[in-house]
């Protein structure tokens, strides 16, 4: 599997879902494919369909309404798939922490492999997160 994981690390296709975010992280994710940061040089491509994806980017606190949908999308993804949570919301809940309609334990909805905190995280931070995922895959 070592050879295959090296291929996988070099072509991570990314699908992006918003789990009730404030939309800042979503805007920041799109910065990654602009000329300044251009993650295509690392083989990363933003795809429109979950069936093509290797990495699932989730943003935001998951509220009760979107949590089942996120679970459904995760189940539709072809395995292996890695879930990367972008922003402070999935890791801590930030200001929505004790809100009545959010899911307290986000890992009960989908297994999250990596957190990239920040409100929103800088594009450099997200690239570093991806680099760490690649390191892990390369062994």
């Amino acid at each position: 599997m070592g050879w295959y994981n090296k291929r996988l690390a070099k072509s991570l296709w990314v699908f992006h879902i918003s789990g009730s975010p404030c939309n800042n992280c979503d805007i920041e994710i799109l910065d990654l494919i602009t000329p300044k940061y251009d993650v295509e040089r690392l083989g990363i491509k933003l795809v429109g369909s979950i069936r093509h994806a290797d990495v699932l980017l989730v943003t935001g606190v998951f509220n009760e309404k979107v949590a089942p949908k996120i679970k459904k999308i995760y189940e539709q993804a072809p395995k292996p798939i890695f879930v990367v949570a972008i922003g402070s919301c999935p890791s801590s809940g930030t200001v929505f922490k004790n809100s009545y309609n959010i899911v307290e334990n986000r890992e009960s909805v989908i297994p999250i492999d990596m957190y990239i905190p920040g409100c929103p995280p800088k594009p450099e931070a997200m690239i570093e997160g991806v680099a760490k995922l690649m390191e892990k895959l390369n062994g």
Binding site: K10, R41, G43, G48, S49, H52
Partner: protein
């Protein structure tokens, strides 16, 4: 003799050669497209990595789809393209016919579009269905022009249908691009190829930002890998076909190799430039363009060819 045929199909002008050259040219496409938008672009082996990665992913099946069609479509398309690559490549590189004439080539090229339609429509997904429908509309648009364009070399070579007779006629009488009708037909054929490969001005069926890759949306794993490989193989097949019917083939000795690279890369670069400088057009605009403007020019090219210009 049998062993030679296997070599033709599986190794040299066939599957292996076309796949590797196609994946490399696919990288050229992605790199040049990236440079057009001042990005860096992917590394050299990117398409190979993508292909092998997709081969190892899980292939998902949809509960309400027609499974046999869904799985068969990409592989039948791959077989069709391999056959096309072999027929065109053997004529170009060895100068011998592989059975079948220019009409067989036209039919096989149409089968590829039909496979996209079947594969997309079998899923039941609404975006895939829309994509499949658009593919049919685009096929209706570009097929007439493509047939008209393919008639020009037939007429100019003295009504010969075999690929090797067409190429031999050009070897003795000069390439067809040297005449007025040849130039017209060549320009039209580049536009047709753009539509057949569903590249940028005519990427109506696969519109990534609108109906998320359309017919390919529900595919994952190995079938998706073969769809991607099919698309890259067309980067080899269509330019080779154009070189065969308009530019007089190759002569792989001495300076001929340079001419081969120049002709092939020239056509590919023109396609990439058209792709990167044009936005996607609407379905009705595309049909309008093909039926109202391109078809009369194609007819004009045929009339010029009959007059011998």
């Amino acid at each position: 003799m049998k062993l030679e045929y296997l070599f033709f199909i599986f190794i040299f002008p066939g599957i292996l050669f076309t796949s590797i050259l196609g994946l490399i040219i696919g990288w050229v496409d992605r790199k040049v497209s990236a440079r057009f938008t001042f990005r860096v672009g992917p590394p050299f082996l990117q398409n190979f990595n993508d292909f092998f990665k997709l081969l190892g992913k899980e292939a998902t099946l949809i509960k309400n789809s027609i499974h046999s069609l869904f799985i068969a479509a990409p592989f039948v398309a791959f077989g069709t393209l391999s056959l096309l690559a072999t027929m065109i490549g053997v004529t170009l590189f060895y100068g011998i016919g592989f059975g079948g004439d220019i009409f067989v080539i036209m039919y096989l090229m149409m089968i590829y579009s039909v496979m996209i339609v079947l594969g997309g429509a079998s899923t039941g997904n609404i975006y895939s269905s829309i994509g499949a429908g658009r593919e049919v509309k685009l096929l209706i648009g570009d097929e007439l022009v493509f047939i008209l364009v393919c008639l020009v070399p037939i007429i100019k070579s003295g009504y010969q249908l075999n690929l090797e007779s067409i190429i031999n006629f050009q070897a003795s009488n000069g390439a067809f691009i040297g005449s007025a009708s040849g130039i017209l037909a060549f320009l039209l054929s580049i536009i047709c190829i753009q539509a057949k490969m569903t590249m940028q001005p005519f990427d109506i069926p696969e519109a990534e930002t609108e109906i998320v890759e359309g017919p390919l949306m529900e595919y994952s794993g190995p079938p998706l890998a073969f769809w991607k490989l099919n698309h890259f193989m067309m980067y080899v097949i269509f330019p080779f076909f154009l070189i065969l019917i308009f530019l007089g083939g190759f002569n792989l000795t001495g300076l001929g190799i340079l001419w081969f690279i120049l002709k092939y890369v020239g056509i590919v670069v023109v396609m990439i430039i058209i792709k990167n400088t044009n936005p996607r057009i609407r379905t009705d605009t595309a049909l309008n363009f093909f039926w109202k403007y391109a078809s009369p020019i194609g007819l004009l090219a045929i009339i010029l060819a009959i007059l011998g210009v």
